[in-house]
Amino acid sequence: MKDRLAAALAVSRADYTEIRIEHTWSAAVSFRGARLESATAGEDRGGFVRALHDGCGWGIAAFTSLDELPAMVRRATELSRAVRLERPIRLAPVAPVTAEALLDLDGDVRGVPLAEKKRLLEGYNAEMLAVPGVVDTAALYRDEVTEYWYANSEGTALHELRPEITLSGTAIARRNGTIEKGLESIGFRRGWHGAQQQAAGFGEAARRAAALLDAPSVRGGAYPVVLDNELAGVFIHEAFGHLSEADFVYENPQAREMMTLGRRFGRPVLNVGDNGAAPGLRGTLPFDDEGTPTQDTPLIREGILVGRLHSRETAATLGERPTGNARAISFRHAPIVRMTNTYIANGAGTFADLIRDIKLGVYACSAFGGQTLLENFSFTAAYGHMIRDGEVAELVKDVVLAGSLFQTLDRIERLAGDFRWNQMGGGCGKGGQFPLPVTEGAPHVRIEQALIGGDVPA
C-alpha cells in the first residue's frame, strides 16, 4: 500500500498533496428489551485525496473505488486549480515523519465470533432487565479496527492500526404515566478485553431509572451548582471547547477579538486543556489526519485564555503552531479542527470539602444531552441531588442547566481533587462529521450560581 500511495503522489502536479486510505472492519450488536435487534458486521474501505496549488483553494476527492487512485489524485488537483484565491492558503510547517503506529489491539475484535459479542451484550442487557421497575431496555455493542495509511508530498508516511470499542445501555422504568431512563455509556480505544467486566455500570443505570420514578422534579431557579466529573467534562467540551477550535476564529476578526489570547475566562482555579496524546483514551492517536503529532495543548491557564486548537492551515493564518487537532471521521471527509481529550485540570480537596458550606444547592450528575449555540448552552443532566446543609440530599430529576458560557465559566469557584476521564461512547459532531471519538475529563466542579430549569415554569 505504501508504494501505491507513493506512486499516486508522484502523479500530482499540485504544490501539496495528501492521501489517506482507510479499511475498517466493524461489528455491531443491539438489543431492545430481551429481543435482539441486530447483530451485524460491516466492511468499509475508501480513500481521500486533498491537493493544493499555490494561490488556489483546496481540491478534494473522496472515493470507495480504490483502484482509481491516480485518477483521484488528478481529480483533486484539477479541483484545486478551479479555485483562485487572492489570499493564498498557507500551511504551518510540520516536520515530515515516517511511522508504523500499530496500537495494541488488546484482543483483536476481528478474531472474536459475532456470537461471543452477542453473548457479552446479552449479559449486560440482562443486568438492566433484572431491575424491578425497568420495563424496557436498549443495549448496543460496537467495535471496529481501522487499518490506516497516510502519506503527503512533504515526505510523511504513516501506517496505523486503530481499535475502538463502545458499549451503551438505556434502561426505561415506568409506573403509571411516568417514564424515566438511565444511561450507561462506555468507550475505549481498545479491543475485546476492554469490553469485559462492565456489568456493574449497566445495573447501576437501571437502578437509577427506577429510583427516578419516585424522585421529584427539581424546583427551577438559581442555585450554587456542583457538576459531577462527567457533566463537568461534557460542559467544558461543549460550551468552551468548540470556541477554542481555531477554525471558528481564524478568518473572523470579531470572533478573534472575543477569543483574544490573554483574555480572562475564569478565576485562577480554572485550568483547561486538550490532550490528544493522553494514553489509552478514545480521543487519543499518535498523529492527526494531517500527519501532525498530537500533544497536550493548554487552553486556559489560571483563568486566562492561553491557547487554541489548530490545523496546519489555521495555525499558519494566525501565526501559531499546529497542535495536531485536524481530524476527520472517515475517508469521506476532509480533516477539520476538532478536539481530542478535553479536560478541566484537577483541583484540590475532596468532594465533601467542596459542598460543605453549601446551604441549598444542586448536585447535577451525568448528561442525557447538551447543546451549545455559540455563547449559549443547555445541558440536561441524567439526574441530580439537592445539596442541603453541606450534604447530598434527595434525588431530583429534570435537571436542566442553561446559561451563558462566559458568565458560567467565570462563576466556577472551586474544583475538587478527584479528576477522572469519562470513558464514554458516543462522540462529537461538527460540520456534518459525527461521531468523532473524543474523551472528556474533569474533577467535581462548583459553580457559585447557575440557572437550573426544572419543572415547567408556570
Binding site: S26, A28, R32, R35, L36, S38, A39, T40, A41, G42, E43, D44, G46, G57, W58, I60, A62, F63, T64, S65, R75, L79, S80, A82, V83, L85, E86, R87, L114, A115, I172, I179, K181, G220, E251, N252, A255, E257, M258, R332, A334, F368, G369, G370, Q371, T372, L373, L374, N376, F377, S378, T380, V400, A402, S404, F406, L451, G453, V456, P457
Partner: protein, 437 residues
C-alpha cells in the same frame, strides 16, 4: 454486484433483499465570503438482508466483495431473531420526477457562480458570510429474492447560506437554505437572501424578553420542537414498543381540527421523494393526522411484520445496519404553491399585544421528547409587541406540552415553505409559557 449477491442468497436456499446505491457528490464551500474548496466524492455500497430459517441477518460493504458480504449476512442470521417477513414482489411503480438533467449536468463553475452571487447579495458590514453548494447524483437499486427489481436516479441540490455577526460577546447567527432536485431558480435564491435579511435586520437590536403564558409564533424552522414528539409518536416502532402516546388513538380526535399531517413520498421536485422505498415497497401518500384525527403510522417491513400490519413504504437503509423507519416528505397542512409568499412571521403578528416569534431553539431532542413536554432556551427569537417585532430576545426559555398546545391552535401563517423534508407554515400557539432568565 447486486445480481451476484442475490444469486448467492438464492443458492443458499435463503431469501433476502439488497440495496445498491452509488452517489456522486460535488460540493463547493465559501468561507468568510470567499471560495475555499471544491470537493468530489463518490461512494458505492451494498446493504444485504437475508432470512435463513426464518432468522434475519444483515451485512454491508463498500469493499465490493459479494461472497464475503453474503457470508457475513448468513453468519449474522445465525444469531438473528425469528421474523416472518413478506418481501414485496415486483409491481408497477408510481411515476415521480426525481432526476433533473440540468442539475446533473451543471459544470463546477455553474455551482460556484451560484455561491458568488449569494455572497455578493448577502454581504454586509461586520458580518461573516458562509455559503455551501452541494449537488448529488445518486442511483439506487433494490432487488429481492421474491422478484422485485427496482431502480431509479435522483439529483439533489442544496444551497446553504449563513451569516454570523459578533459584537463583543454577543453572537448572532442566521442561516437558511434551498433544497430541491433542480438547480435553484432566481426566485429560489431571492427567497434565501430575503429570508436572511428578514431574520437579521430586526435581530440587531436586543430587547428584554416578556414573561408569562403568551402567544408564540413558531416559524417553519422553529416548529421542530413542536413536531418532533409527533414524529416519534407516529412511528410504528414506538407504537410496537408501547411507548407512543398516540398508539391506541387511531380514529380519535386528539388535535385541533385545523391540524393535519401527511407523509408524501410522491411530491415532484423534492429530494426525499422516491418511487419506492429501500425495501422495494412502492411509495404512496400516507395521511397521519387528518383534521385533528389520528389516521396512520409509518412502518417498514420488519416493524410491520412484528405488529401484524403492512409496511407503509417507509423503510430506509444505508450501507451499514438494518433497515429502519423514516419519514419522506412530512407535510403540515396543505402544500401551497411557491415559497414564503407571506413575510417573516407569516402575517400572524398583527393581533399579538405581547409575545414571541421563535425561529430556533436550543436542545431540541434532549429530554423526554415522546411525552410531548418541551422546555428550551431560545437560540433565535424575537419579541412581538403591538403587532410588530421590536427586537431579538436572548435570555428566555419556552416550555409547554405539545399535546395540550395543539388541542387548540391559534392560526397558520401564509408563509408555507419547504425546509429539508418538511413543508410547514408558521403556527401561532396561545398560552405558551415564556420565562425570562
Amino acid at each position: 454486484m447486486i445480481e451476484r449477491v442475490i444469486e448467492l442468497v438464492r443458492a443458499r436456499a435463503a431469501t433476502g433483499d439488497a440495496l445498491w446505491r452509488r452517489a456522486e457528490r460535488t460540493s463547493v464551500t465559501f468561507e468568510s465570503g470567499r471560495l475555499k474548496s471544491c470537493a468530489a466524492t463518490e461512494e458505492t455500497g451494498v446493504n444485504l438482508r437475508v432470512l435463513v430459517d426464518g432468522r434475519m441477518g444483515v451485512a454491508g460493504t463498500t469493499a465490493g466483495d459479494a461472497d464475503d458480504l453474503v457470508a457475513r449476512a448468513v453468519a449474522s442470521a445465525a444469531l438473528g431473531e425469528l421474523v416472518s417477513l413478506t418481501l414485496p414482489t415486483t409491481s408497477s411503480l408510481p411515476r415521480i420526477a426525481t432526476f433533473a438533467a440540468p442539475a446533473a449536468d451543471a459544470p463546477l463553475d455553474r455551482l460556484t457562480a451560484i455561491g458568488t452571487e449569494l455572497v455578493d447579495r448577502a454581504s454586509r458590514e461586520g458580518c461573516q458570510i458562509g455559503v455551501s453548494i452541494e449537488r448529488e447524483i445518486s442511483q439506487t437499486r433494490v432487488v429481492n429474492t421474491a422478484g422485485a427489481d427496482t431502480t431509479y436516479q435522483t439529483t439533489t441540490v442544496v444551497v446553504g447560506l449563513d451569516l454570523a455577526r459578533f459584537a463583543g460577546d454577543d453572537v448572532l447567527f442566521v442561516s437558511d437554505q434551498y433544497a430541491g432536485t433542480e438547480l435553484p431558480a432566481p426566485a429560489d435564491l431571492e427567497a434565501v437572501v430575503r429570508s436572511i435579511d428578514e431574520r437579521y435586520t430586526p435581530a440587531q437590536r436586543v430587547v428584554t424578553p416578556p414573561d408569562g403564558a403568551l402567544p408564540v409564533v413558531f416559524t417553519p424552522s422553529g416548529l421542530s420542537a413542536i413536531l418532533l414528539p409527533l414524529e416519534q409518536a407516529l412511528s410504528g416502532k414506538t407504537v410496537l414498543q408501547g411507548i407512543s402516546p398516540l398508539g391506541a388513538k387511531t380514529g380519535e380526535r386528539v388535535f385541533d381540527e385545523r391540524f393535519s399531517l401527511t407523509d408524501d413520498p410522491l411530491v415532484p421536485g423534492r429530494p426525499d421523494s422516491r418511487p419506492v422505498d429501500d425495501e422495494a415497497v412502492p411509495s404512496r401518500r400516507l395521511p397521519l393526522v387528518e383534521r385533528g384525527v389520528v389516521r396512520g403510522f409509518v412502518y417498514d417491513l420488519e416493524t410491520a411484520a412484528r405488529a401484524q400490519t403492512a409496511s407503509t413504504g417507509h423503510g430506509v437503509r444505508g450501507t451499514f445496519g438494518k433497515p429502519r423507519i423514516a419519514y419522506s416528505n412530512l407535510i403540515l397542512g396543505k402544500i401551497a404553491e411557491g415559497r414564503g409568499a407571506g413575510g417573516f412571521g407569516g402575517g400572524l403578528l398583527d393581533g399579538i399585544a405581547d409575545g414571541l416569534l421563535i425561529d430556533d431553539l436550543i436542545g431540541v431532542g434532549q429530554g423526554n421528547v415522546i411525552s410531548g413536554a418541551f422546555s428550551h432556551p431560545v437560540a433565535l427569537a424575537y419579541r412581538v409587541e403591538r403587532g410588530a417585532i421590536t427586537g431579538r430576545v436572548k435570555d428566555a426559555a419556552v416550555a409547554g406540552n405539545v399535546y395540550e398546545l395543539l388541542q387548540k391552535i391559534g392560526e397558520f401563517g401564509d408563509d408555507g415553505r419547504w425546509l429539508s423534508g418538511r413543508w410547514a407554515a408558521s403556527l401561532l400557539l396561545e398560552g405558551v409559557s415564556v420565562a425570562r432568565r
